[in-house]
Structure formats: structure tokens, C-alpha cells
């Protein structure tokens, strides 16, 4: 299905819950097909679908209907003792599938702790491979804002993921 994995990744990291992410993606396909006349042939289908998804997310989010929890239990869970952390120190092999899974869980959790304004550009640029211009179009903001939020968001994210990123903090 065209761009399904991409849309699910974006939705999951925006909505932070599998059920909400599935609703977002399903609704995105329905809306896209309902609004096909607005799609200009030759333009970027992935970006167009992502914009529909993001707009729908923002509508729902700001209406406070289903996914209002920005600081939810994800943050709490990450602060609790986590058996995966133990796993990381005991089994440092970089190719282990389990470790990749663990990293994925940690990153999803850390992204979930970021305020939405910082999370969205990171999800689009780093997970979705969007350029700054494309991300700015989806988010309806200037390119400079994308750059600024990426910088600030990544700084926060690095703080959450220090032990996994493996580079030292600048003085």
C-alpha cells in the first residue's frame, strides 16, 4: 500500500498510541481519495498524504477529542526501572535484533516526551526523510522555524537518549 509504513510511522509518533495511529492513517487514505481533485499530478504524493495526515492530527489534537495526552504515561514508564536498560549493558552487540528493537522502543518513548512543536519536525525530517522545505509545507510554518525547532528538539532528545547516541555533550 503506497506509503503506508511511512504514514504509520509518522502517525504513531505524533499520536503516540497504536490505535490512534491506525485511525489517523485510515482516515488519511479516506480523505486523500475524497480530495483527489486537489492532488496535482507530478507533485510529491508522499508529502501530500503526510500533509493530510498532519492536518487531521492537528484538528483532532486541538479539538481534544481523542489524543490530548502530551505528557502521558510514556514519560513515566521511561523513568521507571526498565529491564531493557539492563539488557543494553549486558549485551552490547550492535547487530542484535533485540537491541535494535530496544533502541526503537527507547526512541519512540523519548520522542513521545517532546512537546509536539519539536516532535513533529523531527518525525518528518529524520523519520520521513523530508527536506526542510517539505517539512515546512506540511507544518505550515517558515523553513527557519523548522530548522530552529529541529535544533531545540534534538537537543532535548539527545538529553533523553545520551546512552544510546554515544557522543559526548558539547561543553
Amino acid at each position: 500500500m503506497t506509503h503506508l509504513d511511512h504514514l504509520y510511522r509518522i502517525a504513531y509518533n505524533l499520536a503516540k498510541a497504536p490505535d490512534d495511529a491506525q485511525d489517523l492513517v485510515q482516515e488519511t487514505y479516506a480523505r486523500a481519495l475524497g480530495a483527489y481533485e486537489q492532488f496535482a499530478p507530478g507533485t510529491h504524493l508522499k508529502a501530500w498524504l503526510t500533509r493530510i495526515l498532519y492536518n487531521f492530527f492537528v484538528d483532532r489534537h486541538h479539538q481534544g477529542k481523542r489524543w490530548v495526552s502530551v505528557e502521558d504515561s510514556t514519560a513515566q514508564k521511561n523513568e521507571e526501572s526498565d529491564p531493557w536498560e539492563k539488557m543494553a549493558t549486558e549485551n552490547p552487540g550492535p547487530d542484535s535484533h533485540v537491541l535494535r528493537q530496544e533502541l526503537s522502543v527507547q526512541i519512540t518513548g523519548a520522542l513521545g516526551r517532546l512537546p509536539e512543536e519539536f516532535r513533529a519536525p523531527i518525525v518528518l525530517v529524520d523519520m520521513g526523510d523530508f527536506s526542510y522545505v517539505e517539512a515546512a509545507e506540511v507544518l505550515s510554518c517558515p523553513v527557519g522555524t523548522v530548522r530552529s525547532r529541529l535544533f531545540r528538539g534534538r537537543r532535548l532528545l539527545h538529553g533523553y537518549l545520551k546512552e544510546y547516541v554515544g557522543t559526548k555533550e558539547p561543553a
Binding site: M1, T2, L4, D5, L7, Y8, R9, Y12, P18, Q22, V25, Q26, Y29, A30, L33, G34, Y36, F39, P41, G42, L45, P83, W84, M87, N91, G93, S96, H97, V98, R100, Q101, E102, L103, S104, V105, Q106, I107, T108, L111, I122, D126, M127, S131, Y132, R147, S148, L150, F151, R154, L157, H158, L161, Y164, V165, G166, T167, K168, E169, P170, A171
Partner: protein, 269 residues
């Protein structure tokens, strides 16, 4: 140029979004400033781990099915009737028509693909590797802890099938997540005086059973159990809803089959 002025530009450089004189200025600054160089390396490393994490995340099959069954996305075909069909105009737009074609064909191709029997056989191979200590497993303090770890590792998509095997002197001691043919499989390891047993849970169909497996239909439970062996290791595969469970152990096949039949939840589909 001050470090404060460069910070955001370093971010743009790490994303390859910087060109011309700005790029030259930043690169010169990085050559002289270890702190900003470290910031740059940090941004690149962070980007890499996020990409890796993204690659692990796939849309669940359940979502594909939901979309395929969504009448707004795939409306029922109108066979007769003189009214003009709004969908017909979609195909006057070549790009969108192509996208829709891909949208329709990919899941069909996915569902029609031959199921690889290697997955079922890989379960036996992995069981042997686990018992030889060649596969990293996560040991948990309790069955609940193991289950929680496994569920989280597939982002809550599905949970490992959990059986109480205490009557066989077996208890869950560890778990791991494996990928076979691009499909994620939750593996729970049971150990005790009764030997060892691994329980694999994955999203799949009965076509995941090897062609040469012996099928046994349990009329009471309305379920089919597939038994197969490699060497002295035996396996029994069955389906519960959309999930496949494979029990693998060196215990005699009749015992393993009886165990699977006694523990499987009756099927209504």
C-alpha cells in the same frame, strides 16, 4: 562567528540543508571549535539512531486489512446503473490512477505471495540455538515482565501466547524477538525439570505450516494442528485468530501435540 550563532546552522549542516557561503563559514568554524564539532557529531549520530528506529516500525497487517475493508477507500463496485460514477474521473489523472493501482495491487501481491516454509523450520533451528546459548535472550523476573518486554518490542501490535505449563514442570524464564522473512516473531522460552520448550507467536496464517507437516484436526476445538520435526526436535503449529503459535521442544511428538491441543483456546473462525 560565535558558537551561539552557529548552533542552528550546524543542525542544517547535519541534514545537508546548508549550501554556499553559509556552509563554508560553518565548516571553517567546526574545524576550529571542538564543542561545535561535537555538537555536529551528536546531531549526525542522533539522526542515524532515529532512522534505524524508524526502519523497525512497520504498519501492522491489521491496519492494511482495515483500509482494504474501508468502503470510503474502496467503495463497492457499481455494476449497473446509468448514473455517472465519480470514481471514473480518477483515471483521467494518470499519476493518481497509478498511485491507486499500486494501492490496490501491493496488498494483493502481499497476500498472494507464497508463504515461506522456512519460517516454521527456522523456529526449530532457533530453538536449538537458544538451548545451545547461541541466541541472546532477555531473562525476566516473572512471566508478566517477559510478556511486557515482548509486547513493547512490537509496539503493542500483538502479545505472545502465554501458557501455564507448570504441570509439565516448565515455566517461562526468558524471551526474545526474532525476525524471519521480515516478520516479527515473539519467542518465549520455558525451562524446568521437564526440559525446555520455546513458544513462537507471530501474525500469520496456517499457510505458514511446512507443506510436509502432518495436519491433525481437533473437532472439539475446531482447530487444525500441524506437526513436523527436524532431527530430534519437534514442533506443533496452530492458529488462534490472526496469530500463529509454534511450540518447539525435544519432548516426544505425541506429548507436544497433546500439550498444544490442551492449551490452545478454541477457535470460532
Amino acid at each position: 562567528m560565535l558558537c551561539k550563532e552557529v548552533e542552528e546552522l550546524v543542525t542544517a549542516l547535519s541534514d545537508n540543508e546548508l549550501a554556499g557561503p553559509e556552509r563554508i563559514v560553518v565548516e571553517r568554524h567546526l574545524a576550529d571549535c571542538p564543542d561545535c564539532r561535537s555538537l555536529y557529531q551528536q546531531q549526525v549520530a542522533l539522526k542515524q539512531v532515529i532512522r534505524r528506529a524508524a526502519a523497525e516500525m512497520k504498519a501492522p497487517l491489521e491496519l492494511r486489512e482495515k483500509i482494504l475493508n474501508d468502503r470510503r477507500v474502496f467503495p463497492p463496485r457499481v455494476v449497473t446503473g446509468p448514473e455517472p460514477r465519480p470514481w471514473a474521473s480518477v483515471f483521467t489523472r494518470p499519476a493518481l490512477a497509478l498511485a491507486l493501482l499500486v494501492l490496490v495491487l501491493l496488498p494483493v501481491i502481499y497476500l498472494m505471495r507464497p508463504q515461506s516454509p522456512s519460517l516454521a523450520l527456522a523456529a526449530i533451528e532457533t530453538h536449538d540455538k537458544i538451548t545451545r546459548g547461541e541466541v541472546t535472550v532477555i531473562r525476566g523476573d516473572s512471566p508478566e515482565a517477559i510478556k511486557e518486554i515482548l509486547v513493547r518490542s512490537v509496539a503493542g501490535e500483538f502479545a505472545p501466547m502465554g501458557y501455564d505449563l507448570s504441570m509439565m514442570n516448565l515455566k517461562p524464564v526468558a524471551g526474545t524477538v526474532q525476525t524471519f522473512d521480515g516478520r516479527r516473531v515473539l519467542v518465549a522460552l520455558y525451562q524446568g525439570d521437564g526440559g525446555s520448550l520455546t513458544c513462537y507467536t507471530l501474525v500469520g496464517t496456517e499457510r505458514d505450516a511446512p507443506p510436509r507437516a502432518q495436519a491433525f484436526f481437533d473437532a472439539d476445538k475446531n482447530m487444525t494442528f500441524y506437526s513436523y520435526s527436524v532431527g530430534r526436535t519437534n514442533a506443533v503449529l496452530h492458529r488462534e485468530g490472526g496469530l500463529i503459535c509454534i511450540l518447539v521442544s525435544a519432548m516426544p511428538m505425541p506429548d507436544l501435540l497433546a500439550l498444544a491441543r490442551s492449551k490452545a483456546a478454541p477457535s470460532h473462525s
